[in-house]
Structure formats: C-alpha cells, structure tokens
C-alpha cells in the first residue's frame, strides 16, 4: 500500500494524473516486469548472460507466478516476489564481492521485503542456512563474514521498525536461526583470526576448550529461555509447514482455505510444465560447477520445492527458482549443442584434406544430433509458451465476481448475480443494516454494497467466525437466538443449485460445521450429525435430518422444490450435488426472503 501511495504521489508530482484505482490495478503487472529484469540479473550472477535471458523469458510467462500477479489482483504477493528476488540478487552480489555497500543495499531490500509480506520469514531463514552451508563446506571467507554481519544487524533493526514485526526477531523461534548463525559467524571469524596469530599446538588447545565451553553455554541459555517461555514457540501458520498434519488436526480454519491444501503432481505440472524437469537438470549443472552463489540457489530450490509440496499457495515462491535453474539448465545444454551446429559448417576451402577428414566424421555425426536436439528443445519451448498462455487465459484471467459459461450452442452466458445482489443491498436496505454471510464474501459486501458485515476475509477472529458457523448449522430457532445476539438484519447465502456453480455455500457447509463446532459455544454441533448413517453427505431424502432442517439448507432451498432446473429431472433437482432435494415444501419462520438474483446464485433474507 505504501508503494501504491508513493507511486501515485510521484506521478502526480510529475503531473501525470493517474487515478489511484488504476495505480493499484496495474501495480502487480508493473512489479512482475521488474521481477523479470531482476531474474535476468540474478541468473547472470549465478551463471552467464545467456542463462539469464532464458530465465527471464521463462518467468515472464510462468503460470505459477502469473496467477498472483494478474492486473487487478491487489495482494501482497504482487510486490513481495519482486522484493524477495531483489534481496537475493543483492545478497549474491554481496557474497561475491564482499563489499559493504552491497550488503547495506541488501539490508534495505530486506526491509522492503519485510514491509510487504509475512513470507520474509523464509528469507531470514534461508540466508543463514546458506551461510551455514558455506561454513560446513569450508567456503567461509571474509566476504561472507562482512556480508552476513552487515545484513543481519542492519536488516534486523530495520525490520523491527515495522509495527507488525516489532520485537519478534529476538523473541520468536522463527528468527532464532538467524541469531544463532550470527553468533556462529562471529565465532568462526574469531577462530580464523586467532589461528593466524598463534602456533598450531597452542591454537588447538585453546580452540577445543573455548569451543566446548561456548557450545555448552549457548545450549544452556537457549534451553532456559525456551522453557521459561521467553522465546515463543513456532506460530500455527509456520508450524503447519514443518509438520503438515498439524493444521488438519488442530486448526480447521487454516486447513479450510483451499490454498493451504497440499499440492498434487498435476498442480505442479499445471503451473510449471516444462520447468518441472528442466529444474533438476539445472540443479545437476549447479552441482557440477559448485560455487558460493550456486550453493545458495541449490538451497533455495530444495526448500521451496518442499514447501510448495506442502501448500499450494507457496507454488508462487517456487516459480522464480524453477525459472532460474531451468534457465541455467536449458542454456547450458543449448550452448553445448549449438556449438555442434556451428562447427558443422563446411570447412573453409583453405583447410587441408587430412584435417577435414579427421574432424569431419565427428562433427558430421554431432551435427545431426545437435539438429535433432535443438529442434526438440524448440518444440518444448513452443509447447511451454502455448501451455502458459492457455492456462493463463482459461484459469487465471476470469474476474472472480462475474462468472461465465458456454451454452449448448457455444455462446457465452454471463452470470452477473454477485453485483446484482450487492447493488440491491446498497439501494434497498437501511444504511446501518448488518449483513451476515460466510467470511469469503465479507470484503465484497463491504466494498460494493457498503454495508456492515459480521465476519470478513481477515480471518483473525476465530470465535466470531465460529459463531456465524453455528448460526448457519443450527435449526431455525437456535439460529434465531444467535442472530439476535449478533444483531443481524440480513443474511446472504450463495447457492449454485440452479446454475451448477460449485463454489457455493452448501459445498462449503462442512467447513462451517467444523469451524462452528471448534469452539466452546458450538460444542453441540457435531459433524457426524450431518452425514447419513452410511457416512455420506447427501441433500436428498436420504440425507440426515439435522442437515435437512438447518438454517443454511432452508435458506438455500427455499422455494427451490417447485423449480424445474434440468430437462428430464424432477422439480427441485440440485445441479451441483446431482440430487433431488429432500426437504421441499417448507416455510421459513424466522426469516423472510428479501431478494433472489436472476440465476438464484445470491439469496438475501431479512431477519424478522
């Protein structure tokens, strides 16, 4: 947000009167173009300019990154990836040159990263890990010492200026790794210095005794601090990355977000295609030419591959490193084989016959192979480009507020129900009306209908959301008490049974039950009650009576029982669940229907 404000002010100062909305909408694409440039420079540092070009070309269209940087998606990750890659670039430069100025620029880039995204924790653990790996593999040098010390001190102090971070860098376990490595780095440099000043035997004695006392002391202090609670344990979000089953068992609200689900292999392929196997090839080449910078990129690649496997959302962090390593891999392969192509050009007339004969068989054979290889690589790149453009246009370009589908004759049908409902709310309800809906739609209602809502996408207040879940899952009379307690005037539900829209509230209902039952006041809500005795979730006559009489069911299916939805099916046929609903002719006691949109997607009810 600070970035957008700064850009807006700068543009206005230059007398380009761009509306703030346009600044926000185009911020993400602007920064992704900057990311492409940074990727080029980063890969150039790691390998050569050719690899840089390939990597930049790949990251410009990779779907994994485009999904979060579409124009109009105004979220942290749009600028966070740019900041992250810029920090990495300056870090690599600092390690390579050992200059103070690059380290300070790195610290500033790190500060920018901290201010933009909570994922900075990844950075502050990856860079110490890199330093540790360098120390273990014996590549520690004065340059690394300068770079890391400067970065840690300046960067941490700067990051503590952000109110959200505050004193976390010295209190929480997530930052302890960096502090530990900092201490280790000082020790290592001290040892190196002392070694140059003393003879070998004296040094050995001093070294061993000092090391042992230091290690014991450190461990003791760390243990005391952890057990006395001074150092807070890992918070839920990050702990669930290390122990993936933690969220599923303990915190339903983290487990329910669809982006926090683990990644199936087809999602990897969907978002990255070619890169999935160019990435290991690039890794192999990095191992072959090991250097300080290459070790960093190897570590970055391995850790992000693990995290992307745990959480779909972190595919975003994986995409840049995949592009970088694939760029290295592809350009190494191509440069070797292009040389084969060039060498195969017919020898100049001046060359002697013997020489021509000798070099001819080798180059001739390699010419065909090189041709075949280059052709295949070209084909693969073409499929990559096609795949990326197709995925972007089909999966990531649709606005989420207006839906579209193709009719039987191929014509496009537009479902503008959301905006229709929000506009109705805006114009037909009193200004201080309170609307209850599930948290997914909170921000939309606030922004477009301009009404107060009970819970929204900022899902920090778990008890409140749980209360709403209990209201949705209880029968009408119990729900009425909860709604009176929350002082609700209108209730809004999303229903896809008429159109076949599958992200509706009935499909999300089990999460409402789980979250509703997860707090004290919701103890009577048990997920098992909403299933049939056979353990299925059904909305037809076989469905569980608790489900067929709860508030959500009644709201969604009010008056639906008499509607013909699909040819050849009985009235009240739910097109998403594929079943005729069980509870049809009922009246609502505590609510009255206020508005239903054209395709029945949004339904609004007034509390009596």
């Amino acid at each position: 947000m600070v970035t957008s404000a700064t850009l807006y002010n700068v543009l206005h100062w230059l007398n380009f009167t761009v509306d703030i909305r346009n600044v926000c909408v185009f911020l993400a694409p602007l920064f992704s173009s900057l990311t492409t440039i940074v990727t080029y420079h980063l890969t150039k540092e790691l390998s050569n300019p050719g690899a840089g070009l390939v990597a930049a070309a790949m990251i410009s269209i990779v779907p994994g990154y485009i999904s979060r940087s579409v124009a109009g998606s105004y979220d942290n990750e749009g600028i966070a990836i740019f900041c992250m890659l810029f920090t990495y670039y300056t870090w690599i430069k600092a390690v390579k040159t050992g200059s103070l100025s690059w380290s300070v620029i790195c610290a500033l880039a790190y500060f920018y990263m901290v201010s933009s995204w909570g994922g900075y924790v990844f950075l502050i653990n990856l860079i110490p890990l890199h330093v540790l790996a360098l120390m273990i593999s014996g590549r520690f040098s004065h340059r690394v010492y300068v770079a890391y010390t400067t970065l840690y001190c300046t960067g941490t102090i700067l990051s503590m200026q952000i109110p959200f971070v505050g004193f976390q860098p010295v209190l929480t376990s997530e930052h302890m790794g960096a502090l530990g490595v900092f201490g280790l780095v000082q020790l290592h440099a001290l040892v190196d210095y002392v070694k140059t000043k003393m003879s070998t035997e004296d040094f050995n004695v001093v070294f061993q005794s000092v090391i042992s006392t230091a290690v014991v002391l450190l461990l003791g202090v760390a243990a005391v601090l952890t057990f006395s609670g001074k150092i807070a344990p890992w918070t839920g979000r990050f702990y669930s990355l290390l122990d993936p089953s933690y969220a599923k068992n303990n915190i339903p609200i983290i487990a329910s977000v669809s982006e926090h689900q683990p990644t199936a292999w087809s999602s990897f392929y969907f978002d990255l295609q070619l890169l999935v196997f160019l990435f290991p090839a690039g890794l192999y080449f990095c191992f072959a030419n090991l250097s300080d910078a290459n070790i960093f990129i190897i570590l970055y690649g391995m850790t992000s591959v693990y995290f992307a496997g745990v959480m779909v959302r972190l595919m975003l962090v994986l995409a840049p490193v995949m592009c970088i390593l694939s760029g290295i891999g592809a350009s190494t392969l191509l440069s070797k084989y292009m040389k084969g192509l060039e060498a195969s050009s017919p020898p100049s007339a001046g060359a002697s016959e013997k020489k021509a004969k000798k070099s001819d068989p080798q180059s001739f054979l390699r010419h065909e192979i090189s041709l075949a290889f280059v052709a295949m690589m070209t084909f693969m790149f073409v499929t990559y480009a096609l795949h990326c453009t197709w995925v972007t246009s089909e999966a990531y370009s649709s606005p989420s507020i207006v839906l579209s589908a193709r009719g039987h004759d191929g014509s496009r049908i537009i479902f503008d129900d959301f905006r229709e409902a929000y506009n109705w709310l805006k114009h037909n309800t009193p200004e201080d009306a309170k609307v209850m809906s599930w948290w997914d739609y909170g921000y939309q209602i606030t922004a477009m209908a301009n009404r107060t809502i009970i819970v929204d996408n900022n899902t920090w207040n778990n008890t409140h959301i749980s209360r709403v879940g209990q209201a949705m899952a209880s029968p009408e009379d119990k729900a009425y008490e909860i709604m009176r307690e929350l002082d609700v005037d209108y209730v809004l539900v999303i229903f896809g049974g008429l159109t076949g829209y599958s992200s509706d509230d009935i499909n999300k209902f089990l999460w409402m039950v789980r979250i509703g039952g997860s707090t004290e006041t919701g103890k009577h809500i048990k997920e098992a009650d909403f299933y049939t005795p056979q353990g299925e979730f059904r909305v037809d006559k076989e469905g569980s009576p608790t489900l067929l009489n709860c508030l959500m069911y009644k709201m969604c299916y009010y008056r639906f029982g008499s509607l013909y939805t699909e040819g050849g099916k009985p009235p009240g046929w739910d097109r998403v669940r594929g079943a005729e609903i069980g509870n049809k002719d009922f009246e609502l006691d505590v609510l009255e229907e206020a508005y239903t949109t054209e395709h029945w997607i949004v339904r609004i009810f007034k509390v009596k």
């Binding site: 196997f277 745990v310 070797k336 192979i369 499929t383 996408n457």
Partner: protein
C-alpha cells in the same frame, strides 16, 4: 481392507445358532450390587472381560444407570485378526486414560467381549466383523450411531475418545504412556553415525563427494514434485480397482492422485532428467578425445528418453485434465 479379512473369517466360523431372545428382566442381582461388582473389577483392571452371562447381567439387564463401551473382538491366534490386536491396544489406552482421570465415575464402564467367550452375543447382535466398538447407553437401545464407524475414523485412541465424547459427553484425555522406542531408535542412530564418522575420521572426503549430494538432492526433488507430500497428508489409496475388474493406475481427475500414480510420475521425471544429463555428458567430452561412437550413442539415447517420456507425461496430463488444451476449467480458487 484388513477388516474385511477378519469379517470373512468370522462368517466362516459362525455357528448358526438360533437367535437368542434378549432376556431383559434377568435381575438376579440388584442395580446397586451390579455397580459395586463393576467398581470392584475396576480396581484390578480398566476393562471388564465379559462372557455371555456377564454380558447379559451387566449390559443387557435393566434397570441400569450406567453406560458401557464394549469392544467386540477376536483375539485368539487362530482367528488371525491382526487389526484386533491394534484396536485392543488402543482401546486399553483409552480405558486406562479414563480410569486414572478425574472423570472416572460409576456412570460409564469399559468392557470387552471376545468371540471365543461370547459367540452367541455376536449372533444376537448380528455382528459379523471384528473389531467393533459399541456404546450401550444407560437408557434405551443402542442406535446405529452407537457403533463406531471404524472405516471413517480409524482405530486410534484419539478417534475412539472423540467418538465416546460425541456419544456420552464424557471427554477423555488420551494419555499415552511415554513411548521410549522412538528415543531409543534415535540414540542408536546417532551412535551408529558417530561410530561411522569416527572410523572414517582420517578420510572424511566422502562427505564432500559432490555426486552423492547431487543424487540425494535430485531424488528429493523428484519425490516432492511427484506429489509425495499430498500422499502424506491425504493418504490416498494405492490404486483403484474399477467395477469391471480392471485396475486404474491414474486418478480420473486432476484433483486427486493415487500412490502408484505418483511413483509413475517420479519415474517419468527421473527418466527425462537422466536423458538430459546423458546429453550433457555426451557433449562435454572434448572433441578429439573420447570414443565418438560411444558419445553418439549416449546422445541419441538421451534424446530418445527425453522425447518419449515428455510425450508420455503430456498424454497422462491430458487424460487427467479432460482434454488438453481444455475448453473449460472450473475456478481453482475460493472467492475472496
């Protein structure tokens, strides 16, 4: 699953005795005496062993002001019910946790019925698989939900405690006795590694062996990108037997995957990368040195591997994603 093996065994073995009538009013002892007897048993062990008579006396007889959680099992070796053993251990843990907790009262007791001691109980309750956990409430007959659905929840002590909490509102905190096998295993591992390092202390170069690290790193990457974390969290089946009797290795939609499928994908990825590495090695040798023929063959094999497995991967992905390029995909993200 293993459960069905057990149930098959029991089917073969069940003698077709006549269905027993529930003799409900068999109150040779009064309620107070029964509760006292149960409490006495509790001082010795947490789970009451029931045979047919005791079952009728304690569980079936009325009046009753306590509820009973019964495990129906078949522990004899000839029944070969491996899962009964696991279930019995977990049940014992729950019973112990209850027995030594503050919630212990004379309102709820744990019992076990072994098939060899109470076969007629099995027939009277029409039970033909083991293990089964059943809740007999103080008032009324047990309903369908009073039988724990092991297929869905499993047999772990936590799942049993959760089911008991749902049925009886008694929340038992499962206390597992500290399991030292993990610590012992870890200590042994550290000692082994320490010993190995000590023995090779003169020549630690093998740790610096790049190829070993490269192979490790690559295998890790193949494991991750083929979706092993998804398998670890979601526990999908190994493969899927379709109704026609065929075997499906690949999951039909792009939202799910089978374990076999992930291995296939890992192998395909590995083959493509091996092909690329072969190509590199072929190109790496300096011109003039090395056997030209051998390099040529390496390059051709590498090329063939890459091309073949890439097209295989494409076709698998196409089969999952329903036409590739597809005409319509659903929105992949929740509405924010």
């Amino acid at each position: 699953m293993r459960l069905f093996v057990c149930s098959l065994f029991l089917f073969l073995v069940l003698m077709p005795k006549g269905a027993l009538n529930d003799t409900r009013k068999k109150d040779g002892t009064s309620l107070g005496e029964r509760v006292q007897q149960l409490m006495d048993t509790m001082t010795k062990r947490s789970v009451v062993r029931l045979n047919t008579d005791k079952f009728k006396q304690y569980v079936k007889a009325l009046p009753r002001n306590y509820s009973m959680i019964i495990m129906f099992t078949a522990m004899a070796p000839q029944r070969q019910c491996a899962i009964c053993r696991h279930a019995s251990d977990e049940f014992q843990i729950v019973a112990n946790s209850y027995r030594y907790s503050q919630l212990f009262s004379n309102k709820m007791f744990f019992g076990v019925v072994d098939f060899d001691e109470g076969a007629d109980i099995f027939t009277s309750l029409k039970m033909n698989s083991a293990p089964t956990f059943m809740h007999f409430p103080a008032k009324g007959k047990p309903k369908k939900v009073d039988i724990m659905d092991i297929q869905r929840h499993g047999i772990s002590a936590e799942a049993i405690a959760k089911w008991i909490a749902e049925r009886t509102d008694v929340h038992i905190r499962v206390f597992r006795p500290p399991n030292y096998s993990g610590t012992i295993g870890l200590v042994t591992l550290i000692v082994l590694i320490g010993g190995l390092l000590y023995l090779r202390r003169n020549n630690l170069d093998f740790l610096y062996n790049r190829v070993m690290w490269a192979v490790l790193a690559l295998s890790f990457v193949f494991a991750m990108t083929s979706g092993q974390m998804w398998n670890h969290i979601r526990n999908p089946p190994f493969l899927h037997k379709t109704q026609q009797g065929g075997v499906a290795y690949i999951h039909g939609s792009s939202q799910g995957q089978f374990v076999v499928e992930t291995y296939i994908i890992a192998i395909i990825n590995g083959a493509i990368v091996v092909g690329m590495i072969l190509l590199t090695e072929a190109a790496n040798s300096k011109t003039g040195a090395g056997d030209v023929g051998k390099r040529r063959i390496m390059a051709i094999i590498g090329l063939a591997l890459v091309a073949f497995f890439f097209s295989l991967l494409l076709s698998i992905f196409r089969s999952k994603a329903g036409g590739y390029p597809y005409s319509k995909t659903d929105e992949r993200r929740e509405i924010h």
